[in-house]
């Protein structure tokens, strides 16, 4: 086994001597009901080999049929990425011997991708826009999952044998490939991260995928090479596979820049190879030598007929594109009257889409913003998760806001309701019910508590009767105590003053 013996070069020194060149390949699993070429379900987490059929197991005589939603999703993704859509294209077989595809080939697209020549404008942390050109987006299928048995660490080296689950084999994948990204300089890691983030937000808006990097429904491969300053020929690249979080994308680019520079400055040459990213320390390690595309012996898939989307169909699909993230940002900036800096803070905090969705679900924008950037951000930080991964939906937040607006909850009670939703206790209304959190709005019950408090503190009661209304605070406090905080303090105050006048 190879170890990382190479010297890593300090990042500033890398940039003094080299320019980074990147290419990013993102695989996204579509959340169709069924696989790309057969009617097996695509749900995540089923018992092994229970979502399979003769087609996705590659049994003799089984024939594939293309999933229409898979093609529609590919076209919609292509359109959202400003791509041209092929008038005619075919699937191709990518031949390789590896047990994650029982057919011994992956059905993919080769020189006739369904979408090509597009771009995505990516906003960096300081608001600068960087245009990432898109080479192509093509349709293919996912592979099965391997489990390596024996050996020290569950990896293939030293394994005695492997176990295969084909539930995922055949799940529709769209592979989105950028053109070569140059001119980023020191911002290469940031551009890579910003691109994958923008792509994730776009795919989420299109509602074509769960885009969960932690569950593997979105995966990124990072191609990187270095060019000595002033050179015009690209260096040899490495391909770091399956970088599975936004932060890891940034780290992988940075690490590979330092590693490549170490190899080159010590007089060595970079090997064209696949590398694996190690989440624990942000390093990469050598995988297999990269096969060239000739080695895959691509040829047109003889079991499938060509896909020839009519221009009418493409335009119809263009009409189904939702408001895209950058359009939404422009709109809410105007509607909510946000400065560029305020907008950017919300975007960087991952809050903007959530707030917009909460507003869409009926909440006023001020309340929606306040919940997401204050209390919910605190909860996300405590749990160590991204805001979007909190176990509460924008619709649930909107419901809590509505309950406060209707006077059924105080802000304090509302936070307890949110805690309940986050703890998996169900919808807001169910949490109100089960935790008994409703505001005590029964004036009779409140008056009883008020009378009790006034009797207990006769001197305070006298002051209020003398017109020293400020003294009512002590009584409000006592009533809130007896109602366990479930009273509306404003209403209690009104009742106290009525009572003492």
């Amino acid at each position: 086994m190879t170890t990382n013996t190479v010297d890593l070069v300090d990042y500033d020194e890398v940039l003094e001597k080299f320019d980074p060149v990147m290419g990013l390949e993102v695989h996204v699993e579509l959340h169709t009901n069924t696989k790309m070429f057969c009617g097996c379900p695509t749900t995540f987490g089923g018992e092994p080999n229970t979502q399979v059929c003769p087609t996705c197991l590659g049994l003799p005589g089984a024939l594939p049929v293309v999933n229409k939603i898979g093609v529609e999703s590919a076209i919609r993704i292509g359109l959202a990425l400003n791509c041209e859509i092929a008038e005619w294209c075919r699937f191709a077989r990518k031949n390789y011997f590896y047990p994650d595809q029982p057919k011994n080939f992956q059905t993919s697209q080769y020189d006739e991708p369904i979408a090509f020549n597009g771009y995505l404008d990516v906003e960096l942390d300081d608001g600068e826009i960087f245009r990432v050109e898109i080479e192509r987006a093509h349709m293919e299928e996912d592979t099965g999952k391997s489990l390596h048995v024996g050996g020290a660490d569950g990896r293939i080296h030293g394994a005695d044998y492997s176990l295969l689950d084909y539930n995922r084999a055949g799940v529709p994948l769209i592979e989105i490939v950028t053109k070569t990204i140059e001119g980023t300089g020191e911002r290469a890691p940031e551009v890579a991260r910003a691109y994958v983030t923008a792509l994730r937000d776009l795919l989420r808006a299109l509602d074509v995928s769960d885009v969960r990097m932690d569950q593997g429904s979105m995966r990124c491969d990072v191609n990187l090479s270095l060019m000595p300053k002033g050179a015009t020929v690209f260096g040899t690249r490495s391909e770091t596979k399956n970088v599975n979080s936004l932060r890891s994308v940034e780290r992988a680019v940075r690490y590979e820049m330092s590693r490549h520079a170490g190899v080159l400055l010590s007089g060595g040459s970079v090997v064209q190879e696949t590398r694996h990213f190690d989440e624990s320390d942000g390093s990469t390690r050598s995988g297999r030598l990269k096969e060239t595309s000739e080695d895959y012996r691509y040829f047109p898939e003889p079991d499938l007929v060509p896909v020839a989307p009519s221009r009418e169909w493409v335009e119809e699909l263009r009409g189904t594109l939702p408001e895209l993230p950058w359009q939404m940002r422009n709109r809410v900036q105007k509607e909510w009257n946000l400065s560029d800096a305020e907008l950017r803070d919300l975007v960087n905090a991952g809050a903007l889409d959530l707030i917009a969705a909460t507003v869409k679900a009926g909440a006023p924008s001020g309340e929606a913003r306040s919940w997401w950037v204050a209390y919910l951000t605190q909860q996300a930080n405590t749990q160590g998760v991204d805001l979007a991964d909190l176990a509460i939906t924008p619709a649930q937040v909107a419901r809590v806001i509505a309950l406060v607006a209707a006077g059924d909850l105080t802000n304090k009670l509302a936070r307890q309701v949110v805690d309940g939703v986050l703890a998996g206790e169900g919808e807001p209304d169910a949490v109100v019910e089960s935790r008994g959190l409703k505001v005590v709005s029964d004036d009779g019950a409140l008056l009883a508590a008020i009378d009790e408090a006034l009797a207990a503190q006769p001197d305070v009661a006298d002051k209020i009767r003398d017109g020293k209304v400020a003294a009512a605070g002590a009584i409000v406090g006592a009533v809130m105590k007896t109602t366990k905080g479930q009273a509306d303090a404003k209403r209690v105050r009104e009742l106290i003053i009525q009572r003492c006048s």
Binding site: C40, P48, N49, T50, Y98, R155, Y161, R288, L304, V305
Partner: protein
């Protein structure tokens, strides 16, 4: 379109054998190089009759856009799926370890 008769070298046969994970002896490399060359020559005859105006055929039927609705259809049970497997374990297909490769 080349007019040279296609041929295949011994090294190319060795490379193809490696891609196909086949062990081929030194003697077989020569034999297969000759046989594969003959096959390529035979197939190349198509180019002699098909002019530039004839597009290559990849499918026998003149159809496009054959699609399936995105509706789940029953497949196989785990037991059925594994019934043809030489070896299985924990509901999964067991395959020999793969040396020198990593997905």
């Amino acid at each position: 379109m080349s007019t040279e008769p296609p041929s295949i070298t011994r090294d190319e046969v060795a490379h193809l054998a490696r891609l196909a994970r086949l062990t081929v002896s030194e003697n077989e490399l020569d034999v297969f190089a000759g046989q594969l060359g003959d096959i390529l020559n035979a197939v190349a005859k198509v180019s002699e009759v098909a002019g530039a105006d004839i597009p290559p055929t990849s499918h026998a039927l003149p159809l496009t856009n054959v699609f399936r609705e995105d509706v789940v259809r029953p497949g196989l049970t785990q037991e059925q799926a594994l019934s043809g497997a030489p070896k299985s374990e924990d509901g999964r297909f067991a395959v020999p370890r793969i040396l020198g490769e990593e997905a």
